[in-house]
Symmetry: C2
Subunit: 369 residues, 2 copies
């Protein structure tokens, strides 16, 4: 049953807010203390647009934690066990951020703007507090702030056409996770080939929040020939594609090894990296759990998709389904699982649904589609 979201000064609006109202936004979530549009009333159309055409998303909630100053690079490296030696200016890398126990506390994209300027483009947690604490406790010469930057994502197989229509054909040469500063009729932006889907696309990091609605309208107009429409990070597509939702798929014990980030944990990272000792120990012991997809047997409604569900094999509890959504392409419910590593793709498992019903699912590797 739907419930209202109450307005609160604790929960900020996006610079695109008025534009999303014009588009008929019907539902929001909150993320990093901001409102995030989650639906425009037609989930099927929003999904089709993303996987077959092009969608535009207000993801201003994807906040930046900016490091500037002489020790910016050193702090960036201290905060992640991924070695940054080869991170070039103009490149973004997906990086784990761990606490001293080796537990994953965020999974940002780290954008290197200059040797002395970085952005962590963060998941839903106050990484700003963490970064400031570490910087100050270690006496580093660095400033850590959350700048007024608001990403707008353009995602889907036709996204590149829309971006080329706006910025010229040469942008087609931008490689995955590369970015550059651009202007659109005086609107300052960082343009990156990135985004929280596996359908391809770009993110426009708006640097001047007062131009949000203006930017939205320009992208909308350029996308009209490609049938662009509004959308949001898509629960079904991201499960099909195996994208992690930190805070939703993780708990207070989840390590990067458990959520398919092992290749971003470099055990030879510098000794001053937070959590590196713990990560070495955990790597030796091997992770207890891992992430797999689940394809549910057809039938049965999607009760309470906000709740984790128990996964059982022959009556033994072996983990959880951490997220579920209806996959239009598979015609059934799909799930993201965090389960005992003894479970493998192809295994048939039982799932206890929140309404008390029992379901059956087949485990699978990603992508599911």
């Amino acid at each position: 049953m739907p419930h209202e979201i109450s307005p609160s000064p604790r929960i900020r609006r996006s610079p695109y807010y008025a534009a999303t109202l014009e588009e008929g936004v019907t539902a929001f979530s909150t993320y990093n203390h901001m409102l995030m549009p989650t639906s425009y009333g037609d989930p099927e159309a929003e999904y089709r647009r993303l996987v077959e055409g092009v969608a535009m998303w207000d993801v201003a909630v994807e906040r930046q934690v900016e490091l500037t100053g002489p020790d910016a690079g050193r702090l960036a490296q201290i905060l992640t066990p991924r070695r940054l030696d080869r991170l070039a200016v103009g490149t973004g890398w997906y990086v784990p951020v761990c606490d001293h126990r080796g537990v994953l506390i965020n999974d940002p994209v780290l954008l290197k703007h200059a040797e002395d300027r970085y952005w962590f483009s963060i998941a839903d947690g106050d990484l700003l507090l963490w970064a400031r604490a570490i910087a100050a406790e270690r006496g580093l010469d660095v400033t850590v702030v959350e700048p007024e930057v608001a990403p707008l994502a353009v995602q889907g197989p036709r996204a590149e056409d829309v971006i080329a229509a706006l910025f010229g054909e040469e942008i087609r040469a931008i490689r995955h996770f590369r970015f550059r500063e651009v202007e659109l009729d005086g609107i300052p932006l960082v343009l990156a080939r990135s985004g929280w889907s596996r359908q391809g696309g770009f993110e426009l990091y708006l640097l001047e929040p007062s131009r949000g609605v203006d930017l939205w309208h320009r992208v909308r107009a350029a996308g009209r020939p490609f049938d662009i429409g509004p959308g949001a990070p898509n629960p079904a597509e991201r499960i099909e594609s195996g994208l992690l939702s930190w805070g939703g798929d993780t708990d207070d014990a989840t390590t990067p090894f458990e959520v398919r980030m092992s290749r971003y944990v470099h055990l030879d990272a510098p000794a001053e990296v937070v959590g590196i000792d713990a990560l070495r120990r955990i790597a030796r012991a091997g992770p207890a759990r891992h992430q797999l997809g689940a394809v549910f047997d057809a039938g049965g409604p999607l009760a309470a998709p906000d709740l984790w569900c128990q996964v059982t094999l022959e009556g033994t509890l072996l983990g959880h389904v951490t997220a579920r959504a209806f996959s239009p392409r598979l015609g059934t419910i799909v799930g993201m699982c965090l389960v005992d590593r003894r479970l493998r793709p192809g295994d048939r498992v039982g799932v206890s649904l929140p309404d008390g019903a029992a379901a059956a699912a087949t485990l699978a590797g990603f992508p599911l589609v």
Copy 2:
């Protein structure tokens, strides 16, 4: 215009969730990555209940950051500039938590359970990350976790009667901010005289989340003779009473001196307290802003109560109204202001409303009623 809140595994349910559905909850906010009921469809009745009778609130979102171990007391002191020498076991104190710049990053109640066990009962920010960072960077022997504790607030002039009906007449002797461990038919609780209103009342910190609905029903039944009903932290009452909403009334520069917490900043606190040097400097210079109430001239709707409004005096911008609500007792809109310290109670100011309209208000000290 009301919008739906989308279900998400990132945003947890309270142990009282099913009970609040039974009560007809109509709206939620989010707070500390959880759903917080904000209305049951009759704001006027919810307000009256709180100021004239008794209301029960699901405030499970008020999370605990628990410190345990030999260095728990030392870490608690490091995290706040309020001197804790005289904090006795069984007492909770309202404490500022500041970063190294002296900026307020949370305003919890600190409950001392034992010499080696403390809870920070927190506002809407990931203090868990902050506390863990400081503890680990300083090499302290302390464990920092968020336990599964879910407060239920019973607030209003008849709250004590309800609590006495449940726990016996002797609880009337519990003084403000004192707490004790109790049981209610096997439900383990911490019972504290506290709560985010100035109408008096208690908070029941549920220690066994599976008993949430059970506890709700028992409080409901005991409150029936006193006409108890559901409610939520009340935007109007808290402004009338001058209670701070951290994250709503504050920005990334707000110091405790600006938000009426000066008496909880002890400049002779130990040198290892985070931010103490900065606080001494700020105290010498004097804060730039302070908090006052605003009573709006009658008339005019409450447009977009989530937005800050500019406060002007003869055309000069002198601060913001950080929150607004309709006060049934004053019959007009009231506001919480963070303004230049040259502004004083009694001053007449202009306010730019979000819909573009101009309003006039009179500044006032707290409480407003």
